[in-house]
Symmetry: C2
Subunit: 355 residues, 2 copies
């Protein structure tokens, strides 16, 4: 049996067990999603910060470019408590940055997006696969997705979270290791974020659930893919590796920065969004490490820093952008997504033939 | 070619690329070391806290039990600065524990051990393999070891450290991932401990050195071994998996505690030794997290907490012992080391035949 045939590829009707992660923030263009799906993997639209209209438009564009399955990824809104005083003080603190960088006033109020409006689009468009993070959809929503024949993929950062996802009827689980770039998907223990490395997390999750386990965190090439399959995963989800592809909508300087990282370049920080996420340690992260006041919870801090991040991107200023990336980002390449998909599969083939 | 034949097995003249880690503190009995070596792997005497006499005796016992290669592991004394005030305050703080637990006075002054005396034993006994952590031996020492035909294995927690080890003439490098139990081997950046997960660390180290890379951190069974080889490692080093073997000298309750962990049970703490190390989060760690005063550096804190730890072990009190273990300790079993070695190899064989 080929390494490509797993219970995940069967469940998703894809040819190779490689999922491009649904990264929020504009990198997962319809071109990227379609290229991955056309190459036999599963492309994912990272729709968390898209309006319902923008989501629908992106989904339709993807469907123009591919007839293969693809996924849409959203964040389940996590519970949080706002302290108006903490928010006020952080807003004031960030205004000093905005002044320093010259952020224009019109950048300052991002529209808020409703999760239920986003979910309506997922249901109406009958997307083939719905993946999510930060929580578990309500039972009614899971039922509607099932009625729609939409396959569901949840995100777990611990064995317990994976077990909970299976119990709630989710079809597959992405086990997110400590190495992963971007936001931690943790939802059972918001106060105390558990950090489990992929090498330890994947086999333990595999032993505790019967749904397919998708390894994620630090996987950048054929070596990581075969390692994940050896650990018992039925497939992999890769984020950073796709961020630097030509089709990715990530800022060109951000792509370059990822390729220039070392294993020591990234940290997990709450500075940008109020929720732990891994990215390249730049000036904003370092300055916020020294800032003595508390950071408002997600999504408040995320909204508060958005104008700054957006303006910094326009100014090509990497020091104030959120440069999410995993601990092995240095292994990436600037290449078309289809070529990356070809290369990954060839690398696995070559390795398999050695054992 | 069999998965067992790697440049590591060739270099070490062993039959299978599995190294039992040189854990300090009494778990690596001559019986354990010899059992692993007799099973075709490389057993390691964790000699860091042994007197030269005890080291010599253990080495001779190992040689009575096996004619195969084995290793001796030591800690290269890391630089540190003592603040007498910090030490004094910590000693006072720990006295409150000693009173509470009733630690007798004679337990209170552990003899200090000289690294150069330990090294003399390594050289005089012409041990086949010398592995080390926390630093790199002086060039003269590396030369003497080479003249002795002793193979050297250093510990790296980052790509930079691995490159430095190779540059200094070390023969092989153990790449220690974030998941690993026990002390972090970090030596280039004492102020800022880098935590890189195995999935990200191993391939990046492999790409930057030409000496054999030994994966360590979170590897507990055949899945972890094959995953490590897929990532490019020439072998693995496993600690927690051997702690629970019958021959291990670890406290019986400590073995049981390891087997009852989950993926979330361990944390990296400086509480016991002044240096970050991963272990089961017990009362002492939790109480020290709340203790507002600074912890003296290694090895001061290690010496200060030794009477408490030793007495707690005698009292079967797990809450004040250092319960070092990795993030996948739950995958261990209570079994003879020879059976574990057999099982590991069989598991890899079974997996290899599936790809």
């Amino acid at each position: 049996m080929s390494w490509k045939q797993t219970k995940l590829t069967e469940m998703l009707s894809i040819a190779t067990p490689i999922i491009q992660a649904g990264m929020a923030g504009g990198s997962t263009t319809p071109d990227l999603v379609a290229a991955v799906s056309n190459a036999g993997g599963l492309g994912t639209l990272g729709a968390a910060y898209l309006s319902p209209e923008a989501m629908r438009e992106a989904i339709r564009k993807i469907r123009e470019k591919t007839t293969r399955p693809f996924a849409v990824n959203l964040q389940i809104p996590p519970p949080y408590e706002e302290s108006p005083q903490v928010t006020r003080r952080m807003r004031k603190h960030l205004q000093s940055y905005e002044k320093k960088l010259g952020v224009p006033r019109e950048e300052k109020s991002p529209p808020s997006i409703s999760f239920s409006d986003q979910m309506r689009v997922v249901l109406e468009e009958k997307v083939p696969v719905f993946s999510f993070t930060f929580g578990i959809p309500e039972p009614e929503l899971i039922k509607q997705l099932r009625d729609n024949q939409t396959v569901t993929i949840g995100t777990a950062t611990t064995v317990n979270e994976a077990v909970e996802l299976e119990k709630r009827g989710v079809d597959a689980v992405a086990a997110q290791g400590f190495e992963a770039g971007g936001h931690r998907g943790t939802f059972q223990s918001v106060a105390d974020y558990p950090y489990i490395g992929s090498m330890a997390l994947i086999p333990q999750v595999v032993d505790h659930v019967s749904i397919p386990v998708i390894a994620s965190g630090g996987i950048m090439d054929g070596r990581g893919i075969l390692a994940s399959l050896a650990l018992g995963a039925a497939g992999v989800q890769m984020g950073s590796a796709f961020l630097t592809t030509l089709e990715s909508g990530a800022h060109p300087l951000y792509k370059e920065a990822l390729l220039q990282t070392t294993d020591e370049s990234t940290v997990i920080t709450k500075a940008f969004s109020g929720r732990p996420a891994r990215g390249i340690r730049n000036a904003f992260i370092q300055e916020m490490e020294r800032h003595p006041e508390p950071i408002p919870p997600f999504p408040i801090q995320n909204a508060l820093t958005k104008p700054l991040r957006k303006f910094a991107a326009k100014q090509n200023n990497l020091e104030y952008m959120s440069l999410w990336g995993g601990q092995a980002s240095a292994l990436g390449r600037l290449e078309p997504a289809g070529e990356l998909m070809e290369r990954l599969q060839q690398e696995v083939e070559d390795l398999v033939s050695r054992f």
